[in-house]
């Protein structure tokens, strides 16, 4: 059971105001800044998908651009060769990217820490070289592929920055919602457990390699689908867009923002895409400052800008259910045999100390994400 505080009226009003502001932004900012917001949106969603692997599961994955590339290229190939409408390729991009991740990650999933990091860098380089070499004669070599058809939703064509803005950020909103639910689900908790202590997780019956693989596939599916949107937006899909440095940026977004924290990753995406724009005045010096800013931010906030908060889980409803759990132990103290059946009546233990405040120690298991 996850403790969810009911949204307070102020919170609802804040969300509403944010929603209206987001709706109005393209009108206020004009095409140039709207375009920047679109880039931020794409990086934010990519960052969130990487966050599943790197932030929640704690796997050092620096090859996310490879999965993103698979999605973008699936769209580009289907759209240019077979004239498939772009949005129709969205699920297929996700699927292909997921399958690719499954095939690639399966043999390397047992690697730990830095080994995995280097292998994933290797994968992103191999994918880039494969794309440059026009693999299967489909990818168009280093020039890439030019997409001619715009996205069309029920006959409405998406082409201006404002159109893309609404498309990208609605996907962004859905992503945030789904990933929020995911991080508190059984799946999300299992990933966090693996990150905290893989051995203990395995000991408690979490199938670690299964979950690690699943996190890879899920992150890849999401990155692949964003690849479709990116392909439609940029129109020319070429290998340069999916280089090692792109993976580095995504990695930095997650770590700078706060690994495992959705608001953190969003802030990270804003900063990483926004900082070079802010430093635009400095022209060719901007990447110099960007690099220095990365070092400085890590020195001053090594845990990330918004690290994930502690999570609280209510254990009381579960107390009686597990014969080996807290309830059984206290039952044993009272002389009840430990061999009690799994259907040990719930509430026996809870009733004994009904007067205690609900948030006493032992009632809540605290988990640091």
């Amino acid at each position: 059971m996850i403790v969810r505080r009911l949204p307070k009226p102020a919170g609802i009003m804040g969300l509403g105001a944010l929603f209206i502001l987001m709706l109005a932004l393209p009108r206020i900012l004009g095409p140039y800044w709207t375009n920047l917001l679109n880039d931020m949106g794409i990086y934010a969603i990519l960052g969130l998908s990487l966050n599943i692997i790197l932030g929640h599961c704690g796997l050092f994955h620096m090859g996310h651009a490879a999965f993103y590339a698979v999605g973008a290229y699936v769209t580009a190939i289907l759209s240019t060769r077979f004239a498939v409408p772009i949005l129709w390729t969205l699920p297929l991009s996700g699927l292909m990217s997921g399958v690719f991740a499954l095939v690639v990650a399966r043999p390397i999933i047992h690697l730990r820490g830095d080994y995995l990091l280097v292998v994933t860098i290797g994968i992103v380089e191999i994918v880039r070289i494969a794309l440059v070499n026009n693999i299967f004669g489909l990818t168009g070599g280093s020039n890439g592929l030019l997409i001619i058809n715009p996205i069309s939703i029920f006959g409405f064509q998406v082409f201006s920055p404002a159109h893309f803005y609404y498309l990208i950020w609605s996907i962004g909103a859905v992503t945030i919602l789904l990933f929020y639910l995911l991080q508190n689900s059984r799946f999300g908790r299992a990933l966090n457990y693996i990150k905290q202590d893989e051995l203990a997780a395995e000991g408690c019956g979490v199938n670690t390699s299964h979950y690690k693989l699943a996190s890879f596939v899920l992150g890849a599916v999401w990155a692949g689908m964003i690849g479709t949107i990116f392909a439609a937006k940029i129109e020319t899909v070429s290998p340069q867009s999916f280089s090692y440095s792109e993976s580095v940026l995504l990695f930095a977004i997650v770590i700078l923002g706060g690994a495992g924290s959705i608001p953190g990753v969003l802030l990270g995406a804003f900063l990483i895409t926004g900082l070079p724009e802010i430093f635009r005045e400095l022209q060719s010096y901007r990447l110099l400052f960007f690099g220095a800013a990365m070092v400085a931010m890590m020195i001053f906030r090594p845990q990330g800008l918004i690290p994930p908060g502690r999570r609280f889980y209510k254990v009381r409803p579960y107390l009686g259910r597990f014969p080996c759990g807290i309830a059984a132990r206290s039952g044993a103290r009272r002389g009840i045999s430990l061999s009690a059946s799994p259907g040990y009546p719930a509430g026996t233990d809870a009733g004994a100390d009904a007067g205690k405040p609900a948030r006493g120690p032992g009632d809540m298991i605290e988990e640091q994400a």
Binding site: R112, D114, V119, G122, E125, L287, G291, M294, V295, G304
Partner: protein, 310 residues
């Protein structure tokens, strides 16, 4: 896949082998820097590739400015400048560790990785701003263009010198690490920092030293590369750095003979792959070899230590 004109298979094989050994020597020198830093700090120094580039550029500048002024002959000039580069890049490594890594030593390793990536972006752009984004050419006078004919093989003398230089440096390195008191201290810090501190070893000093030796060797390798290929570019450090790190892992990270072996194996594998399998896929071979080795022998060829869980 054979190139036209080189029609004797054995000769081509040895040509590729010598080329692979020469490039492998460079990989090995760069890999030494990675493996030493990883050994003491468990940190991938992503900026190491950029220090390698820095060595190549500083070497070019020094050769152009007073190496050719005629006070010294070309050979002593190259040797003196070689030593200077090792020192200068070593000093940069020292500053880098102080600025970007030391403040993060107690925090989590991911923060250090991002700091290293930031330092790498910073250095790469600093080099680009200073020297410009185009290829730069090493002065012809300093490059040895003689080709030796040995048993019907035409081997450029530069290849042999390059290989000899890297082997000499590696040998010196090996003796230093295994036969001197300071080397023993470095190994002690790599094995167990806490225990090393209790034995009276100044751990910070050792880490600084490692950050001078590793980048120093990397800078020397950069200059060797410049002398070998004759042209350099500000962003070459990324790929060479990644490949050299791959070499360090192939040999078993943290293991000094392993880095040497891995570098040379990688150089040869790459040359052979490019010559006999597919030239366009040259840069992919390193990573393919890496994946295959890690699947079948995750600790590398000579490594015993398994990377820690983060």
């Amino acid at each position: 896949m054979r190139r036209p004109g080189e029609d004797v298979p054995m000769i081509e094989f040895f040509q590729q082998l010598s080329n692979g050994l020469a490039v492998g020597g460079i990989y090995a020198l760069v890999a030494l820097g990675y493996t030493m830093v990883y050994g003491v700090l468990k940190l991938i120094n992503f900026a190491h590739g950029e220090l390698f580039t820095l060595g190549a550029y500083l070497g070019m500048t020094l050769l152009l400015s007073f190496g050719l002024s005629g006070i010294l002959g070309p050979l002593p000039a190259v040797l003196i400048i070689f030593a200077m580069i090792t020192g200068l890049v070593g000093l940069s490594g020292f500053v880098l560790e102080r600025a970007a890594y030391r403040p993060l030593r107690q925090s989590n390793r991911l923060a250090a990785v991002v700091s290293a990536l930031g330092a790498s972006i910073f250095l790469q752009n600093a080099i680009m701003l200073f020297y410009g984004p185009n290829y730069q050419v090493y002065p012809e006078e300093t490059r040895v263009t003689i080709t030796l004919s040995v048993l019907g093989l035409d081997i450029p003398l530069m290849r042999i010198l390059l290989f000899l230089a890297s082997v000499l440096l590696m040998l010196a390195m090996y003796l230093f690490i295994h036969k001197t008191k300071t080397g023993t201290a470095i190994r002690a810090v790599a094995t167990d920092q806490g225990a090393a501190r209790l034995m009276g070893i100044d751990v910070n000093r050792i880490i600084s030293l490692v950050f001078m030796i590793g980048p120093g060797l990397g800078g020397a390798a950069g200059m060797l590369l410049g002398l070998y290929y004759g042209q350099i570019r500000y962003d070459m450090g990324t790929l060479y750095g990644l490949k050299a790190f791959t070499a360090a892992i192939i040999g078993g990270i943290g293991n000094i003979p392993g880095a040497m072996l891995g570098g040379i194996l990688l150089g040869v594998a790459e040359a052979m792959g490019a010559a006999y399998v597919a030239p366009a896929w040259k840069d992919a071979f390193a990573f393919l070899v890496l994946i295959v080795i890690l699947i079948f022998r995750p600790t590398g060829l000579l490594g015993e230590r398994v990377a820690d869980k983060i």
